[in-house]
Symmetry: C2
Subunit: 754 residues, 2 copies
């Protein structure tokens, strides 16, 4: 196939840099001391028998992190970040991930390497077979499998342009076959630049045949994790590839297909046999060593290079019979892998030629990519110290390989625990959604962000799909319930008729009409207020009922602010947010208006700055609490108390900067879930039921928590919120966090989460 | 009870003019000729065995219209209007309601008066008993029962102020007992002013004993609809009242409680016996004659007077033993009822005294009411021609009583049919909601408007409650479905993945990025447009794919209008709205942009005015179509075609004034429901299912209706609307109307509506 004229066709330009990527990354669980853990697989994670993101490789200690298929490099790394965050925070707090391909010190006795305790006995049997065939020690090496798929439209365009093939599937398969063979021929280049396993750890070889260390990549050498010599599979055609693998299995040279440890696998259907009918859909590169200096074992630059490399391998022509071509590559790779990490490579000239050719390819296809990586590769060619193997080796000289693993691992551990409420990769989304996503990833839901700005998620498990917006809007509520809650008049009507205590109100549009109604209110606790209030202006409260003069004055004051004045029942007491999910109150929160407590020295402004310094405080619902603002509202509220931003409050004096208690305006959140008795919780649940709501936040004023809910005037329901914030309950300012996100997952999938 | 000091207590002021009202109004169904109909009860109405608003009285021809309990006079009349509209438009189009209390000509043979064909055999038996006891003819008289309840807070305040009674229920009962006795004593006053049955019609008396006509009110006289002489019930106390009625029944003087035809009934529980335990809750005034000059048989002024009269009857002290007091009233009323309508009443002085007392009462309680009605009553006292009886009698002299009934009836019939899409009383609500309410009233749902601005309704039937907003937002949709539809990105994603054809789009924020993507679009039908468009500026369509030059120019043009430019698949064809309810498409509509068709003479402006003259066109979704505007958008669209508002289009030339086809901007609606084949309907239903929607409007572009939906490029789904307008389908500009509102009622109550 003369592919170069096809790839330089302008029609392909928009597609060349598009691709789909997926990463599977193995890592050993270790203690903070860098020793292999002896604990079982983390209990918090959903079952390994279906978990799409978090699996176990050979050993019980060996985590496998699997991203979904992604459409861009940045998306790939968002998922790597999120899955790493989830894994770190699902393990014991004194465990972390070992960042190197070569395992930490292994047990002296091989049997102490614990095979993964999987539910499926066949999976265990397979691992026992591997232990017997290759030894447990060799199975402890970790690495990255990189799945790569060309943009499908690109392959289609190529097919339209070429004239050799009539069948699209056949053409597509040839594309991937060529790339696979070329990768097998040229992969020594990645071993040179990205090989990262120069040294073995204690008890890795343990008396077995071993290379003279240091090398570029033990893992990619003949001493690495590879099949026995008698396993031979041809990449000449898919037919050969399939037949050979099947024959190896039949002859018992492989226990099953997945034991075929080539550097590249052709991927299509479910099993290798499927490739007989279906085209190759993508390829799996299996030879990537972990980069201990990257938090996720691989960096964006390396992925971008691999994409470029795949395009180049499609572009460049093979120079020999397919099997020979692959065999040559095998030998060159072993040679490069076993070179000293500081030595110039024997393939120096060939490497330089390839870089020149890649540059030429970029030019001919007008590929809009930076060539910085190629510049750096040229530097690395001349200076092997700059290769990954060179860097790891030199670093190990300075601080030992164990310390590299320990210290780098610790830095990633700290990063994951630094803001344990956030989900790395998705920190631009609302915090409630981040927490929800964390829980969904942890438990093994198929998760997809349908729309980021809109906090719109898709979940799948047990062949059942649910859509969730804002973490709290689901199919479990009807359409009419939030509309009822949105309409305060309707909400009050329904609650009032159902016998709940709800502040009743009247609206007046003239002073005369309000004045005439005085008798109606003279013995009631009321609040007189303009219909729309700014900074609480124009509001008067009469706890024991107004005298006529004060009443009229309050009406006048309110009418100065608006043409419409409300007189509402005043229910004295503290407002609490009851978070109802289904037939239970899952959390109760007291929200305290934005405030600072004086120390007799600092000004209000300084105290606010100090309080805002807490990393829990941020902006726009991306942190559990919001920063206190120093705006007009706060200035006014201070002014009404006789303060300014520059006042110095006394020691232990608490100053409020807001009339409203919302967390979103800098208020504090205090968990009260266990303080309230069951009768108040039932009240909130029943109110939600009257409104037909499954998930809602009921705001209730309670003057005295100790009084029973059935006591006269024990409570007043203010409103019900159909989009209640969840994160403030999950991470309150004070008190115990309530994992509402998990409760919602349970509501959606009652049988899925134990 | 010394009630006057209580009623003048300032605390009562806010409550005196508050009350609850309900009306039951009987009317005979007649032909357009004013003859009693021979048809059965209207089939369109829900079953009489439960219907809350529309019942049958004695005869099959005798409709009984029942309002719900209302809190204000205006609300009472809204319901009277709505129920009348519903009744008129549920009867045969050649039937109307007879507006007089005295029936139209009755059949010569009494047996030809058909007793109501009710399902419940006991109800039929009761009517047969009445026919036997009183004769069928007498049962054909119609009138109004007016239910009146003082504001409960007022009665409570009175109770708090008084010191005589310890028991609230007892006090409340005494209040109503006093009013009832006083009403029975003074009701001759209402007979004088509002009596409206001076003349009988053919075959009404038919040889039976009869008054010398004309009189003031046959119905309220001893010749009217009243119990036999031996039925005696005391209003001295509730105990007496209950015992007497029960004894009359036991003795067989009454067949059952409801045969007690007093001018006032005490109302509380379900049966009279309940009054032994429960307080009287309201009273029923049963002596109101129909006023043929009022569309609903009674006017607002009369209701306002009755309220004032109730207050006065509570205020004024009884002057005799209770039974004597009532008996005196009975005699005076018969006297007044049988006076000639043009004669001065024998009670002239007493009437004048009462009006003076009412004025004094108003003054002492500072009641903020107009006294115009009292002025007019004084005039009527001096000039009996102005009383209702006087007017009807004089009118009948001029045009016969039959013509009064026929002509007045016809004017109300015309009013009900004038705008058959609207629901009188609720025309300020959106038209879809008006139609929905009409259907709900017709079928006999308990209906309540929870919030008028918000189009929020409550329905109840079969002990099951549903809430509905905008007529189309219900509990049958989940909360997440409309959120999916609201988000166009998510909608397109889900539909695309499910295999539907959906226009795909890309967003660009720089010319360079858009230019580089040229190859992606060169062979596609695309539309290039600014992300937000005003009047369609900056849009370019390439049906057959652009050449590079035109493409870049289109990009430039679009970027002049916005910083973000969209390139979307262009799907040629006509857009149709498929209205999906459950698993069916219930209506399909073609919407044509606002347009006029020329006559070679008139200007565009004149043609628009002519088209807008159609009463079907209004504003703000209160009519089936909207008026065409002559604004900036229309000016621009005309300008692009080389026209101005003053251009004169040729004969039969159609000129469009809008690019968009929305009915809300003056477009025309054309029903296409039966034009489309089943496969397109299935497509819309399946798309709705993918989005999880039960009620939605799916907008689909179809280039060729004749092509099967499975053909390549047969369609493109543009979007799904979660708040689709219904009224444009119910009353389209052309084609058959589709009663979607009834379909939604069926969806909510599948077993309730046959």
């Amino acid at each position: 196939m003369n592919i170069q004229p096809i790839l330089t066709n302008e029609q392909l330009y928009p597609y060349l840099l598009k691709a789909r990527y997926g990463v599977e990354k193995e890592s050993q669980r270790v203690t903070m001391e860098g020793d292999l853990v002896t604990t079982d697989y983390p209990e918090k994670l959903g079952n390994r028998s279906f978990h799409p993101y978090i699996q176990t490789d050979f050993a019980e200690t060996q985590m496998e992190l699997v991203t979904p298929v992604t459409d861009s490099v940045s998306e790939l790394f968002r998922w790597l970040a999120a899955i790493h965050d989830t894994v770190y925070r699902s393990m014991d707090t004194n465990e972390m991930l070992w960042p190197l391909s070569m395992p930490p010190a292994l047990p002296k006795t091989e049997e102490n390497i614990v095979i993964a305790k999987l539910d499926n006995f066949e999976d265990v049997l397979y691992r026992r077979y591997l232990a017997k065939t290759y030894g447990r020690r060799k199975q402890m090496v970790s690495g990255i499998h990189f799945n790569f798929e060309f943009d499908d439209e690109m392959v289609q365009k190529m097919f339209e342009i070429q004239e050799e093939y009539d069948d699209y599937d056949q053409f597509k398969t040839e594309v991937y076959l060529k790339v696979a063979r070329n990768y097998l021929h040229y992969r020594w280049l990645t071993t040179y630049f990205f090989g990262g396993s120069p040294l073995s750890g204690p008890h890795y070889f343990n008396g077995h045949e071993r290379p003279t260390e240091p090398v570029r990549s033990i893992r990619n050498s003949e001493y690495g994790y590879k099949n026995h010599e008698d396993v031979k599979v041809s990449y000449r055609s898919v037919k050969d590839y399939v037949n050979d693998i099947q024959q190896m299995v039949e002859e018992g040279k492989l226990s099953e297909e997945k034991e075929f440890y080539a550097a590249v696998r052709l991927r299509g259907g479910h099993s290798v046999a499927d490739l007989a009918d279906k085209p190759v859909r993508y390829i799996e590169l299996r030879n990537i060593d972990l980069d201990p200096y990257q938090p996720y074992g691989i960096g964006e630059e390396e992925v971008e290079f691999l994409h470029l490399f795949m395009l180049f391998l499609l572009w460049t022509d093979e120079q020999a019979d397919p099997d020979d071509w692959v065999e040559q590559g095998e030998q060159m790779n072993n040679l490069v892998a076993l070179e000293s990490p500081l030595a110039q490579t024997a393939c120096y000239d060939e490497a330089q030629r390839l870089i020149v050719e890649i540059r030429s390819f970029i030019k001919q296809t007008e590929l809009p990519v930076s060539t910085e990586i190629l510049d750096r590769m040229e530097e690395m060619l001349d200076d092997p110290k700059q290769t990954l193997a060179g860097r790891v080796y030199l670093d190990a000289q300075k601080r030992t390989q164990k310390e590299i693993g320990k210290q780098e691992g610790l830095s990633y551990y700290k990063k994951a625990w630094q803001a344990p409420y956030q989900l790395a990769g998705f920190t631009n989304m609302e915090l409630s959604t981040q927490i929800f996503m964390f829980d969904a990833i942890q438990k093994g839901f198929d998760l997809e962000v349908l729309d980021e700005q809109d906090q719109f998620l898709k979940l799948n498990a047990q062949e059942h799909t649910e859509y969730v917006k804002n973490g709290n809007m689901t199919s479990k509520d009807t359409y009419i319930a939030p509309l009822i809650m949105e309409n305060k008049t309707v909400t009050k009507k329904l609650l009032h008729r159902a016998g709940f205590r709800v502040p009743q109100g009247k609206e007046f549009t003239s002073k005369e009409a309000a004045d005439v109604s005085y008798e109606e209110f003279r013995n009631k606790s009321i609040v007189v207020k303009p219909k729309s209030t700014n900074f609480g202006l124009g509001i008067t409260v009469f706890v024991d009922g107004p005298n006529k003069n004060d009443y009229e004055q309050a009406i006048n004051t309110a009418f100065k602010e608006d043409d419409s004045v409300l007189i509402e029942d005043f229910i004295a007491g503290t407002e609490y947010r009851f978070f109802v999910i289904g037939d239970q109150v899952k959390a109760i929160l007291l929200r305290v208006p934005a405030n600072v407590t004086g120390d007799g020295k600092q000004t209000v402004k300084e105290l606010v700055a100090q309080k805002n310094n807490d990393p829990l405080r941020g902006e726009n619902h991306r942190t559990p609490l919001e920063k206190i603002q120093l705006g007009e509202s706060e200035e006014l509220v201070l002014h009404q108390q006789g303060y300014t931003f520059d006042s110095v409050p006394n020691q232990d004096e608490t100053i409020y900067l807001r009339d409203n208690s919302n967390v979103s305006t800098g208020g504090d959140s205090i968990d009260m879930t266990e303080v309230f008795s069951e009768d108040y919780k039932q009240l909130a649940v029943q109110a939600a039921q009257v409104l037909g709501a499954t998930i809602c936040g009921v705001d209730i004023i309670v003057p005295d928590i100790e009084a029973p809910a059935s006591a006269a005037d024990a409570y007043g329901i203010i409103e019900a919120n159909f989009n209640p914030m969840m994160h403030m309950h999950c991470y309150p300012y004070k008190g115990k966090g309530r994992r509402l996100t998990m409760d919602i997952l349970k509501l959606l999938y009652p049988d899925f989460i134990k």
